[in-house]
């Protein structure tokens, strides 16, 4: 399985990663190698095998709908890169 630089660009966009142009070829090589390793999976026919998502086939636990957390907005915003009046700031989205 070979991944070229264009494909790396596409994947980087999907993954929301800014990758330097100069690093693209090495990512292409490494990702291709990893997908070659992964391709070994095809050696086994898995038709009809149930996919396993949890060792105990556990189901999601439910709980009473009651308030268990309290307001810690100030603590959480104290570690944010940029806030104002209790809001998180990001660059302008609409002009």
């Amino acid at each position: 399985m070979s991944i070229d630089v264009d494909e790396v660009k596409k994947i980087a966009r999907l993954a929301c990663l800014n990758i330097d142009e100069t690093d693209m070829p090495s990512y292409a090589t490494n990702l291709s190698n990893i997908l070659d390793l992964v391709a070994q999976m095809n050696a086994v026919d898995t038709t009809g095998v149930t996919p396993m998502s949890h060792p105990f086939d556990a189901v999601q636990r439910l709980r009473e709908d009651e308030v268990t957390d309290f307001d810690r907005r100030e603590d959480f915003q104290a570690i944010a890169p940029m806030t104002e009046d209790g809001l998180y700031l990001v660059p302008k989205v609409l002009d």
């Binding site: 993954a15 800014n18 105990f56 999601q60």
Partner: protein, 490 residues
């Protein structure tokens, strides 16, 4: 001159309870050891001198009052993957270099309730992605047995610190071998519990269906004490198992006569995968020891185990790409300078904040989960995971535990595998299947090859941690490999 670093947690706990030493004295002693020696190892990211001494003073009061839990006043190091209230929690990443956690992970809360004093936070591969501790933003950790060698990873700082006795014990996490492989490389004892046994709440997520926290210490009996404190149901973790926690120290002294040990033929006489003949011979000597203790060795098959590495490199990256999407430069963590728009803020914060290995895995995951590829990668991997897990179920119908090497070779040199991710991935060839199945497994020291420690893996059926600890403890009553200390740190 007191030599507290030569004592196990079990011994230190007894000394504290008997009033032979105070927690403050013990904590100062280990803080001094860290101060004097860690520049050689780089095993800590953060040392919590003030908090540790405050916790130690509190412990001393509890000890004086009587009826204090067994671990009261024992200093322990925590892997920097666990959120610690008011203390930097970096996960080995530039992304979280400025992150002061506003809450404690459940493991930290449980350990604190048990009386443990936190010495500091240990170095690790970035977001636990690595097998050598070389992907850390804070630099490589050194192996105390040979400062040119890696300590293994991702819990490399925890392993190195315990091996050099800068801490009596530590916590770690294991997604594909991250407790067992560094324990083997550094000559200490480590346990990855059954998936769901220890809470994942507040443990920074890598691959949620595989991640599990566990103890790393000098002996099986120390790991039992630590697991007693760490384990338990937690409603804050949706995959935590509602099952009572036994006393893991209770069965340590059970004799092993009649124990059935399974030896998977795929893990021995390894023609491929770079199995070192001396490492294998060392493991076989340990197996002979078990035989002389009354155990029976039975050859078994784990026919799908050769697919563990490929399956893992779909499942783990897929889950990591989802988990790490939370790092966006908006709410916490690293934010790039002067973002020109929102997309630039996201992509540049992530591009600059994550290291190369983390980015590779995020991209593999994003690719495997992308439209049109899901069935061929993620679904296929989850199907194979079922087969791998069924192999273990079948094996445990015939045997009590399974034994195998932990790693194909002893600790490799720093820089040796950094240019070739695949060869790095293959160093976890014997540990990954355990995580995919969700079963518990240990690594115990069983000898040396050219001065470097060799680990042996003991795998158990679901929730049989007590059995594993018993089997490991009995071996450690007959041998002293676990008591060996690197010359430079004696």
């Amino acid at each position: 001159m007191s030599m507290y670093h030569t004592k196990t947690v079990t011994e230190l706990s007894a000394m504290l309870q008997a009033g032979e030493v105070s927690s403050v004295e013990l904590t100062r002693y280990f803080l001094d050891r860290i101060k004097n020696s860690d520049d050689k190892l780089n095993s800590f990211i953060t040392v919590c001198e003030e908090q540790a001494l405050a916790q130690a003073r509190e412990s001393d009061e509890k000890l004086k009052a009587g009826n204090a839990p067994a671990l009261t006043g024992v200093p322990v190091a925590h892997k920097d993957i666990f959120c610690t209230d008011g203390v930097k929690t970096s996960c080995g990443s530039k992304m979280l270099d400025n992150f002061i956690s506003p809450y404690d992970a459940t493991v930290i809360t449980n350990m604190r309730k048990a009386g443990v004093v936190m010495l500091g936070k240990t170095n690790m591969d970035e977001f636990a992605m690595g097998s050598s501790n070389e992907t850390s933003y804070y630099g490589a950790v050194k192996n105390p047995w040979n400062l040119k060698a890696v300590p293994g990873g991702s819990s490399g700082g925890s392993a190195s610190a315990v091996a050099a006795r800068l801490a009596p014990a530590s916590t770690g996490t294991d997604t594909g071998g991250s407790i067992r492989q560094p324990a083997a490389f550094c000559g200490i004892t480590g346990l990855k519990p059954t998936y769901g046994r220890v809470s994942r709440f507040g443990m920074i997520a890598f691959a949620s269906s595989l991640d599990q926290a566990g103890p790393m210490g000098q002996s099986a009996s120390d790991c039992a004490l630590l697991l007693n404190a760490m384990a338990g149901f937690d409603e804050k973790d949706s995959t935590s198992i509602e099952k009572s926690v036994p006393d893991y120290s209770a069965d340590l002294d059970e004799p092993l006569a009649g124990l059935k040990i399974g030896l998977p033929k795929e893990y021995f006489d390894h023609k491929e995968g770079g199995m070192n003949a001396d490492v294998e011979a060392t493991v076989k000597t340990a197996l002979e020891q078990y035989k002389s203790m009354g155990a029976e060795l039975i050859e078994i098959e784990l026919p799908n185990s050769n697919l563990s590495v490929p399956v893992y490199y779909v499942v783990a990256p897929a889950e990591c790409s989802a988990n790490l999407s939370r790092f966006d430069g908006v709410r916490y963590g690293y934010r790039c300078e002067d973002p020109k728009d929102l997309n630039d803020l996201y992509t540049r914060s992530r591009g600059e904040g994550f290291g190369a290995e983390v980015q590779r895995r995020i991209m593999v995951g994003a690719y495997a989960l992308s439209s049109g590829y899901y069935d061929a990668y993620y679904l296929k991997a989850q199907q194979l995971r079922h087969l791998i897990s069924d192999d273990f179920k079948k094996a445990y119908e015939k045997v009590d535990v399974i034994m195998a090497p932990v790693t194909p070779e002893t600790a490799f040199n720093i820089g040796e595998k950094t240019d070739d991710p695949i060869s790095m991935y293959l160093s976890d060839i014997f540990t990954i299947a355990v995580n995919l199945a969700g079963i518990p497994a240990m690594s115990i020291p069983v000898g040396f090859v050219e001065g470097m420690p060799v680990g042996m893996q003991i795998m158990g059926n679901y929730f049989e941690e007590a059995k594993l600890l018993n089997v490991a403890h009995q071996y450690q009553q007959q041998t002293d490999w676990h008591k060996q200390m690197p010359e430079e740190f004696k």
